[in-house]
Symmetry: C2
C-alpha cells in the first residue's frame, strides 16, 4: 500500500486553521484557499481531506463543540475527584462558557459564527442542539446530586434550574462579548455566583471525597 498520513492530525490542522480564521476575520472570510494557506498546505490537500467546504465547516463546528463539552466534563470530574462542593464545581465549569481568555474567546466566537448558519442547516443545528442539551443535562445532574447531598433544597426541579442557569450563563457570555466594558470579569463571575447561590442554598451533609 502507498504512503500513509495521520488523517486525524490533518483534519485537526485544517479545522484549527478554520477556527483561527473565524476568530480573526469571521466566518465570511473563511475560504478554502485561505484555510489552506493558514494550515500551511495546498488547496488540493484540503480537498483531499474534505470533499466539500460544507464538510470542512461542519467538522470544525463539531470539533470545537466537542472540545467545549470535554472541558466542562473534565472540570466536573476533577471537581468531584478533588471533593469540591457541587456549587464550586459548577462555578468553574460554567465559567468555561464565557469568553474570558483567549482560548475561551476563540471557542465562543466559533459558536457565535455558526449560530446563523445553524439556523439554516439541519446538520449544524443538530451539533448545536446536542451540545446545548449535553451541557444542560450535566448541570441538571449536578443539581440533582446537590439535592441528594443537601446543597440544594428539596422540591427544586433540577431540569428547570439547569435550563435557567445555562441560559443565564450563555446570555452573560454574549453580553460579555458585546459590551466588555460594561461587563467586567469580576462582575460577570459575581453574577454567576449570585445565580448559583439562589439554587445552592445549603451545605453538603455527606463527607467529601478526596
Amino acid at each position: 500500500m502507498p504512503r500513509v498520513a495521520d488523517h486525524d492530525a490533518r483534519h485537526g490542522q485544517i479545522t484549527d486553521a478554520v477556527q483561527r480564521l473565524i476568530v480573526r476575520h469571521g466566518l465570511t472570510a473563511v475560504t478554502v484557499a485561505r484555510t489552506a494557506a493558514e494550515a500551511g498546505m495546498s488547496v488540493g490537500l484540503v480537498q483531499h481531506y474534505f470533499t466539500a467546504k460544507d464538510e470542512m465547516l461542519l467538522a470544525t463546528f463539531t470539533r470545537v463543540n466537542g472540545r467545549f463539552t470535554a472541558r466542562v466534563d473534565e472540570l466536573v470530574n476533577r471537581g468531584e475527584a478533588e471533593g469540591h462542593t457541587i456549587a464550586d464545581m459548577l462555578r468553574q465549569a460554567l465559567a468555561e462558557l464565557m469568553p474570558l481568555n483567549d482560548a475561551r474567546r476563540a471557542e465562543f466566537l466559533v459558536r457565535l459564527a455558526f449560530a446563523d448558519q445553524a439556523a439554516h442547516s439541519a446538520r449544524l443545528a443538530a451539533v448545536q442542539r446536542e451540545t446545548l442539551v449535553g451541557i444542560r443535562s450535566r448541570v441538571a445532574q449536578a443539581i440533582g446530586n446537590g439535592t441528594v447531598c443537601g446543597e440544594v433544597a428539596q422540591g427544586i426541579d433540577a431540569a428547570d434550574q439547569a435550563l435557567q442557569i445555562v441560559a443565564f450563563t450563555e446570555g452573560l457570555a454574549l453580553h460579555t462579548h458585546i459590551d466588555p466594558d460594561g461587563t467586567s470579569k469580576p462582575a460577570v463571575l459575581a453574577a454567576l455566583d449570585d445565580q448559583l447561590g439562589r439554587v445552592f442554598t445549603g451545605t453538603c451533609r455527606r463527607a467529601q471525597l478526596g
Copy 2:
C-alpha cells in the same frame, strides 16, 4: 427639480427585503441581486439608495434594532400608562426579546445573523452595543422605580440586577431558538417569571395611575 421619491420608504423596502432573506436563508444568502428581486426592484435602484452592500446591511441591522428597542419602549410606556405593576410591565417587555412568534423570530434571527459580523465590524458592533445598553438601562430604571415604589427591596443594585435579567432573557431566547422542543413557550415564560420574582419581591406602596 426632477421627480422625487420617498427615500425612507425605499430604504424600508430594501431593508425589509434583506430581513426576509436573512430569516429564510441566512445572511450568507443575501446578495444585492437577490435583495433587489425580493424588494421588487432593479439592482441599479438598490445601488441608487445604498452606495455599497455594507451600507445596506448596516441599515438593515440598525432598523431592526431600532424597531426592537422601540417595541420595548412602547410596552414600558403603555404599562406605566395602564397602571400595571413594574414586574408585569417588565414581563411583557422582556418577552419581546424572545422568538416566540413570527415577528419576534424574524428580529431574533437578524440579530443572531449579525452577531458574527459585528465581531469584526466596528460600526455593526456599535449598533449592537447601543441596543444592548439601551435595553439594559431601561430595565435598570424600571428596577430603580420598583425600589422607590416598594416592589423591589432596598439595597438591591438596579444595574447589577438589570444586567442579570437581560442576560438571562437573551440566553433564554437563544436556547428557545436552538432547542424549541426542550424549551416550550410556557416553560420559557415561567422561567422569566421566576427570574423576575427574585427581584420583585414586594408590592407597590403608591396608588397606580390610570
